[in-house]
């Protein structure tokens, strides 16, 4: 009886509406924060930090962004990577062109730039729905990447748009080591995840979900479709934009527009499908899953089939597994890993006396 709700009566509505109303969840959450915020940077090696933990965090942020738009507000987007690109290149230019631009301010400005672009490409959502809109977001995907390549101004005249992120310096301290970059990423992502959670559990989130579930009824109740949808586009793009900036500054360092291609957009979409559509926690689970799966397969496939098959085989095998998993989750558990986690908890709650 380690995990129980019984005996924990919520005396006030304030307590009832906490993120973690159950005490064990709250303790678990803070433990997790402690582990990933303090223990991990102390213990993990460079490979883990650079190749797994940092990208998982960054993709989680992007997935939260897409989840806000697609999972909560119901507007399917196939262009998340393009908004990441906007964020990355905006941050680069703000830092490059404005003397003494503090990193965190640049990050916010990058997010805002992405938000503006997001609103622009979100305008069609006022008139079109479903996969019509998905096609419209493809316009964003192809146009933005094209523009970043074709106009050398964005990349300070480097060839084919490749830029190298400047040093990350906050209050005189330069985040140079993987550990430092990890901690910075962790703090930013954790903070933004909290903000996202707060939005989706209050009236803003209810507006998004109402529009998602039944837009006519949402309007009849008084929600303004335009405002609600555009806000979702803006906030979502802001998150993707910041994720893109972090991608450039704390993850790979050197980025080119083509790196933010349709494939990456799909990957982020897969993260939310597998992690959980309409779940902040699912965004983390999905990102971790999608980052870890190829690494896992890279090691597993040669172990099973031998080395003779070559890299091509592994990458094709990956495609099949990715695609297969998407179909599998859509059929078997459309709410993704987040839902599985919840079911596990419910089982645990009854344990050891299942009724």
């Amino acid at each position: 009886m380690l995990y129980r709700e019984a005996g924990q009566f919520k005396a006030t509505y304030a307590e009832d509406s906490q993120i973690f109303p159950i005490r064990q969840d709250k303790i678990g959450f803070w433990l997790l924060m402690l582990v990933f915020g303090a223990a991990v940077p102390l213990l993990a090696n460079e490979y883990w930090l650079k190749a797994i933990l940092i990208p998982v965090l960054i993709f989680s942020l992007a997935a939260i962004g897409l989840n806000i738009l697609t999972g909560y507000a119901g507007q399917l987007s196939l262009g998340s990577a393009a908004f990441m690109a906007v964020g990355a290149f905006a941050a680069y230019n703000f830092i490059l062109r404005i003397e003494g631009m503090p990193f965190l301010v640049a990050l916010v400005l990058a997010g805002l730039t992405a938000a503006l672009v997001g609103i622009l490409f979100g305008l069609p959502s006022l008139r079109i729905k479903g996969f019509y809109l998905a096609v419209a977001t493809l316009a964003a995907q192809f146009f933005i990447v094209w523009a970043l390549v074709k106009f050398p101004w964005f990349s300070n005249n480097s060839s084919s748009g490749v830029v190298t992120a400047q040093d990350v310096t906050i209050l005189g301290y330069t985040f140079a080591t993987p550990e430092a970059k990890y901690v910075l990423t962790f703090l930013i992502v954790a903070f933004m995840a909290l903000l996202a959670k707060n939005m989706v559990r209050s009236s803003t989130g209810r507006a998004w979900m109402a529009v998602r579930d039944m837009d006519v009824a949402a309007q009849v109740i008084g929600f303004r479709l335009m405002r609600t949808k555009l806000l979702a586009f803006a906030v979502s793009s802001f998150y993707c934009g910041v994720a893109g900036a972090l991608y450039a500054y704390t993850y790979i360092g050197t980025v080119e527009p083509e790196g933010f291609n349709l494939d990456l957009s799909f990957k982020i979409l897969f993260m939310i499908i597998i992690g959980g559509v309409g779940s902040i926690m699912g965004s983390f689970l999905g990102a971790a899953f999608i980052v870890l799966l190829p690494i896992f397969l890279d090691n597993l496939v040669p172990a099973i089939f031998g080395d003779s098959l070559g890299a091509g085989f592994v990458s094709n095998f990956q495609l099949i597994v990715f695609g297969g998993l998407i179909i599998f989750f859509l059929i078997v558990e459309p709410h993704g890993l987040a839902r599985l986690w919840q079911i596990a908890k419910e089982k645990l709650r009854l344990w050891p006396f299942p009724h």
């Binding site: 509406s17 309007q219 109740i221």
Partner: protein, 260 residues
């Protein structure tokens, strides 16, 4: 009855509505008075739902005028109607399927909530206070409609009758002046119907809410309505107190005579 029926609050004049070649409404005029229970009856496809949709701006008629509280109402969008205090339920339940009962009802209060998304993001001070204040209001509605024990249930899992009740709760949470109910008792068993009847009468009685009701059960309609308007093939064929309507030969022919 203790309540006082007031002035005309909604006045529809010569409304015509077409969908392509289909004439849903043809030259219909009728009004709704403050605090009354006004019923719309008629066979399926008569244009009843369309009428409600015209009142709260979901459909825009090609011809005719709508006066709201005495003033001519230009093309009004649904959310503007909501801002004017018009709430409604739908014939085919239009709850937000992915949300819990509580969240669904909370959406009903959105127009009264003033915090913006940045305050929500921080969920501190004003935003939290506001959320809790409105939660208290919503709990009153929950108690009134006796749905306490399903608060946290996702609406998709509820049986039909309860879903209808939750939809009413969502509409009531807005504290509307005018409540449009589209077949709130359809598909219910006798007991559920009685409950729903009681709720409608209570709302009307306690809060003085004006009610426009579409209902097929003649017993119920004749029982609780102040006035009834009868539609058939998009035309108005009768209008008046239940007694008159019941005896109107055209109505009997078109509607009461059939198997409805």
């Amino acid at each position: 009855m203790a309540r006082q029926i007031g002035d005309v609050i909604v006045d529809l004049q010569n409304i015509s509505l077409r969908f392509g070649g289909v004439k849903a409404l043809t030259d219909i005029s009728f009004n709704v008075k403050e605090h009354e229970i006004r019923s719309i009856i008629g066979p399926n496809g008569a244009g009843k739902s369309s009428m409600l949709n015209v009142i709260n701006g979901v459909y825009h008629p090609q011809e005719g005028q709508i006066f709201f509280k005495g003033a001519l109402r230009p093309k009004m969008e649904p959310h503007e109607a909501a801002e004017q205090g018009i709430a409604r339920t739908f014939q085919n339940i239009a709850l937000f399927k992915g949300m819990t009962v509580l969240d669904n009802i909370m959406t009903g209060r959105n127009l009264k909530m003033k915090c913006n998304f940045l305050q929500h993001a921080l969920y501190w001070g004003a935003a939290q206070k506001e959320e809790i204040a409105h939660r208290i209001k919503v709990e009153e509605v929950i108690e009134f409609l006796e749905i306490q024990d399903i608060r946290k249930t996702p609406v998709g899992r509820l049986p039909y009758g309860l879903q209808k009740r939750v939809e009413l709760a969502r509409a009531l949470a807005a504290e509307p002046h005018i409540l449009l109910l589209d077949e709130p008792m359809a598909g219910m068993n006798v007991e559920e119907k009685q409950d729903m009847c009681r709720f409608v009468l209570d709302v009307n009685d306690h809060y003085g809410t004006t009610i426009v009701l579409i209902e097929h059960d003649m017993g119920v309609v004749m029982d609780i309505s102040d006035r009834v308007v009868v539609l058939d093939y998009g035309k108005k064929i009768g209008d008046g107190v239940p007694e008159d309507v019941k005896n109107n030969p055209e109505v009997i022919k078109a509607y009461l005579g059939t198997s409805h």
